[in-house]
Symmetry: C2
Subunit: 170 residues, 2 copies
C-alpha cells in the first residue's frame, strides 16, 4: 500500500460509462491493491500451509491444532486444561471437546490433581507419545522439507522471525 504499486497493470480500458454488459471477458481478474494487503497474503499462505500439513500428517489423522496440543503436553506434562488451552489461544469451553477427541483415541489422559481437585492434570499416554513421534517425522520429512524447498532454509528462518514479531508486538 503506502505507494500504490500497481505492478504491470495499466490498460486505459476502464469499463465505459454505463451499459450493463460484461467486462472484458477474456481477461484475467486483476488483484490490484489486494496483492499489497498483508492480511490477504497471510491468510492465503496460512491456508496453504495448513492444507499441506494435514496432507502430510494424514496417515496419523492429526489436525494442526491437535498436533500442537500433543506437542505442548509432551513438553509440559502435568499441566491442567486451562493452562494448555490458554497457551494455544483456545477457549476453555472449546478445549473440552478437543480433549475428549484425543482422550477417546487414547493419546492423552485427564487425571484429577492431588493438589487441587478441581483441575485435571494432562499427560500423554505411551500411544500419544508414539503417534506424536511419528507425526514429527512426517512433519520434518514431508511438510518442512517442502517449505524449505519453496523458500530456502534461510528464508524460512527469516519468515518465522517476522511472523513471531507480528504475533508478539502487533
Amino acid at each position: 500500500m503506502t505507494v500504490s504499486k500497481t505492478p504491470a497493470l495499466d490498460l486505459t480500458k476502464t469499463v465505459r460509462g454505463s451499459a450493463p454488459a460484461d467486462a472484458g471477458e477474456g481477461d484475467a481478474i486483476k488483484l490490484g491493491e489486494l496483492s499489497e494487503l498483508l492480511g490477504y497474503s497471510l491468510k492465503r499462505a496460512q491456508l496453504k500451509v495448513f492444507d499441506d500439513f494435514i496432507r502430510c500428517v494424514a496417515p496419523l489423522q492429526l489436525t494442526p491444532a491437535q498436533f500442537s496440543v500433543l506437542l505442548l503436553l509432551e513438553r509440559n506434562p502435568g499441566r491442567n486444561q486451562t493452562e494448555i488451552a490458554n497457551t494455544l489461544g483456545i477457549l476453555r469451553p472449546n478445549f473440552v471437546s478437543m480433549l475428549d477427541g484425543l482422550e477417546s483415541r487414547e493419546l492423552c489422559v485427564r487425571m484429577r490433581s492431588t493438589n487441587d481437585r478441581r483441575s485435571h492434570v494432562l499427560m500423554l499416554t505411551d500411544k500419544g507419545r508414539s503417534i506424536l513421534a511419528r507425526a514429527k517425522k512426517l512433519v520434518v520429512s514431508k511438510h518442512e522439507a517442502r517449505l524449505n524447498e519453496v523458500l530456502g532454509p534461510e528464508n524460512r528462518v527469516a519468515l518465522l522471525a517476522m511472523l513471531d514479531k507480528i504475533a508478539r508486538d502487533f
Copy 2:
C-alpha cells in the same frame, strides 16, 4: 493484554517420571518445537493482523473479506459473482449472503447481464466507491503504518514476497 508472554524459556527442568501431581507450578509453559512450526506462527500472525485491520476500519464497519470484495469490484467492474468469488477463494453459495450484505448497504449492485441473462454483473455504487476510498485511507494511515512500525518497510516487502511465494508455489 494480559497474555502470558512466555519471556525467556530455557530451564532444564523437565517434569519427573510419574506422580499425578501438578507440574512445575510457578513456571511459564514452554512452547518448545511449536515455536518452529511455521503454520502455528502463520496462524497467530494472521489473527493479529486481521484484528488490527478490523479495529482500524471499525468506523466503516468493513471486514477484511468485505474490503477485498470492494477492492476487486473497483479494479474489475462488470465481472460476475462466480469470477469474483473464485478469485477470492470464496465458494459461490457462500458469496451470495456476502453480496446481500454489501448490496443492502448500497455499496454495490447486481445487474442482469445483457449477454448472458444467467449471470449478475457486479458494480460498485458511488457510495461503495466513497466508502472504499475512506477505507483505503484508514488502512494506509493506521493499519499499514502500524505494520511498518513493527517490521520496517523493507521487511514488510520481504514478508509479502515470501507469503505470496507460498501461496503460489506451495
